[in-house]
């Protein structure tokens, strides 16, 4: 029981980071129907920018802010240069352009920062863990959880309360109607990409500060794909729930199944689970059922 609680709590803590990245993904999909496979590399870019700033001696919150600004700029650039000409193209084209983007970003990251694992120096979070009842929590996870909650709350407020957020909701709902009411779809796409880059960057910073940062953190960023599919692609609460579920699931399999089937089942189980889950619920938990006509 103690093991279960421990795994559950750390699963939720990691899952909140996935939820944040998944939210960014869903935003892009909702507003422009772009299925983005470059999410892993987006997390890498944000994390490396923040780490470099921090290791130059800039305080951690400012470094995070710097990486957010950098993420927003990159997001706007990517949207303008690569994605905008391809809006409305077939799924394969749009997916492969994000794949091309991911190769490009990964190559650039490798070229600039190399392959060696780098750590935040001096460490941002204290190493000794906090004990709450039977559960032991590492400060890194807690930091990631808090930051994710803050950002999630901020983004939810952004959608509900601001003019731009409402414009995004309108575009996601019905693009034609939104355009005829004077909402600029281009602005919406740009904001969606900027937010996705920012969210992924923050996710990457915390994923990278758990075990040090290297290219393989990008692989963790890929775990948002099962999360968004679980939630149903175009549902914001679904993305958050999906991220949490994937985090918990990953930790539970790591704790219970790894003994019987050793060799990293933790990393592949979310994907395997997704493949089976999709057979039973093709549109995820809260996704819109698409009615197709000839």
């Amino acid at each position: 029981m103690e093991l279960f609680l421990q795994l559950l709590v750390s699963g939720i803590l990691v899952g909140s980071i996935y939820a944040l990245v998944a939210l960014g993904w869903t935003l892009i999909y909702k507003s422009s129907s772009v299925l983005n496979l470059a999410m892993g590399e987006l997390t890498l870019v944000g994390a490396y920018v923040c780490l470099t700033l921090y290791n130059w001696g800039i305080p951690f919150p400012v470094a995070v802010l710097g990486s957010l600004v950098m993420g927003a700029i990159l997001g706007l650039l990517v949207e303008r240069l690569v994605l905008r000409p391809l809006i409305g193209e077939p799924v394969l084209t749009v997916i492969m352009v994000t794949v091309g983007l991911s190769f490009l970003l990964r190559g650039l990251v490798g070229l600039i920062w190399g392959t060696d694992t780098v750590v935040f120096n001096p460490a941002v979070f204290p190493a000794e863990s906090i004990r709450i009842g039977p559960v032991i929590i590492t400060p890194v996870y807690l930091g990631g959880f808090v930051a994710s909650l803050i950002l999630l709350a901020f983004f939810v407020w952004f959608f509900q309360g601001t003019r731009w957020g409402l414009a995004m909701q309108a575009t996601a709902d019905d693009q034609m109607a939104a355009l005829s009411l004077g909402v600029s779809a281009r602005l919406v796409y740009a904001i969606a990409w900027a937010i996705a880059f920012m969210a992924a960057g923050v996710g990457g910073i915390f994923l990278g500060s758990i075990n040090g940062l290297n290219i393989s953190v990008g692989h963790l960023g890929l775990l948002v794909l099962p999360a968004v599919v679980l939630g149903g692609l175009n549902s914001v609460p679904g993305a958050i729930a999906g991220g949490l579920i994937i985090g918990v699931l990953q930790n539970l399999t790591g704790g219970y199944l790894d003994r019987f089937i050793p060799g990293g089942i933790k990393d592949i189980f979310p994907l395997a689970f997704m493949a089976v889950f999709l057979i039973f619920k093709p549109y995820g938990l809260w996704g819109w059922v698409k009615i197709e006509r000839v």
Binding site: L35, L37, V82, P85, L86, E89, V91, L92, T93, I95, M96, V97, V99, G100, L101, S102, F103, L104, L105, R106, G107, L108, G110, L111, T115, L222, L225, P226, V229, L233, P262, G263, G264, I265, D267, I268, L271, A272, M274, A275, L278, I279, P282, E292, R293, V294
Partner: protein, 364 residues
């Protein structure tokens, strides 16, 4: 459709569906085959032949992707998994045959007659095909992004988990399966160097290309293309889409198995690192650059990307940087092609051909 040289008209469907419809085309293809089979292997250096083998391997692997994406419209991002299944099946079978050749009459017979490797190719095709069908089963209910996720799951489950953790342990050979020279032979023909691999590659690529062209003009291929163009309409017209989708997965898996069993001849060892996810993406990039749905596009795309690699390799001095330049070059190539040449190289080739067919009396 392609345009014909001035003065050539088809008078029956049979004529229009011929393999090489005009005499000039027959002549051109025969010259090409003669050059590839008889001139290239004896005039080119070993290095050039090894590049040709890599191109051939890419063609073989990408043909399966072309079949799934270009013909049937089933997006796949996990093709490397099935190539890996083929490579490992073939490697394990031939190695087992070599190990037990002296102790067991069955394996001894296989080794002595040189049947082990050809048999292993068949087995590899079969196993890879079945493995591919296993992951293609969800396509009965889902499509689009869900299928992409399923194939990604296939990639990570097969290569990063099953093969890297379990299959690699078979026989206690350690992480790499190295294949001793002389193990791979077809009858009395021992595959040792690049030239032998080149001939095998050429036979396989020619066969696979012919098979693809033939598939496209049979009932099977028409059903696949109907599913790609509009699956609901195809179903209404009586195409059993579940069955034909599974057939497409099986055929693509078989091509992957073929590619995998060819792979072991060119490097003489296999490792899970040869079949990582970026390979799957790379092959999708090949068909995008070549042209989705175009069989010659697969070949053009493979040649383009492999030659690009050679070019990148000659520019990057330090070996470690090569990996990053390779990624950057591939990413840029895919993005630029999608933005500025979305129909791929085969479309460009088609335009060039048409220009010359109509030259000098071209009309608009």
């Amino acid at each position: 459709m392609f345009r014909l040289p001035a003065g050539t008209y088809f008078q029956s469907y049979r004529q229009a569906h011929r393999f090489w419809p005009t005499r000039f085309m027959t002549f051109r293809m025969i010259v090409l085959l003669v050059v590839l089979f008889a001139v290239v292997p004896f005039t080119f250096s070993n290095y050039a032949l090894s590049i040709a083998n890599r191109i051939g391997y890419t063609i073989l692997a990408a043909m399966g992707v072309q079949l799934l994406i270009g013909f049937t419209g089933q997006l796949t991002l996990g093709h490397a998994a099935f190539v890996a299944v083929g490579a490992y099946t073939s490697a394990i079978f031939t190695l087992t045959a070599a190990d037990y050749a002296s102790s067991s009459p069955f394996w001894g017979f296989l080794t002595d007659t040189g049947m082990a490797y050809p048999l292993s190719i068949l087995l590899a095709c079969l196993l890879a095909g079945l493995w591919s069908v296993l992951f293609g089963l969800p396509s009965a209910r889902i499509k689009g992004f869900g299928i992409i996720l399923t194939t990604m799951a296939a990639q990570f489950i097969t290569v990063d988990f099953v093969i890297a953790q379990y299959v690699s342990q078979i026989g206690g050979r350690g992480h790499y399966f190295s294949i001793p020279p002389g193990t791979l032979k077809i009858g009395r023909w021992v595959l040792t160097g690049d030239r032998d691999a080149y001939f095998l590659m050429l036979i396989l690529v020619t066969g696979v290309t012919a098979a693809m062209i033939n598939w496209k003009r049979t009932r099977l291929g028409r059903a696949w293309i109907a599913i790609r163009d509009n699956d609901i309409a195809a179903e209404i017209l009586g195409v059993d889409i579940v069955r034909y989708k599974q057939l497409a997965y099986f055929a693509a898996g078989m091509l992957a198995g073929l590619a995998g069993s060819f792979w072991i001849t060119s490097l003489f060892f296999v490792s899970p690192e040869h079949f990582v996810w970026s390979n799957s993406l790379w092959w999708v990039g090949v068909i995008l650059i070549g042209g989705v749905g175009a069989i010659d596009g697969t070949i053009f795309g493979s040649i383009f990307l492999e030659l690009m690699l050679v070019l990148v390799n000659s520019f990057s001095v330090a070996n470690i940087l090569f990996l990053y330049f390779k990624d950057i070059a591939f990413g840029l190539a895919v993005i630029i092609f999608l933005l500025y040449e979305p129909n791929g190289l085969s479309y460009r080739w088609w335009q060039i051909k048409n220009y010359f067919y109509l030259w000098p009396f071209s009309y608009k």
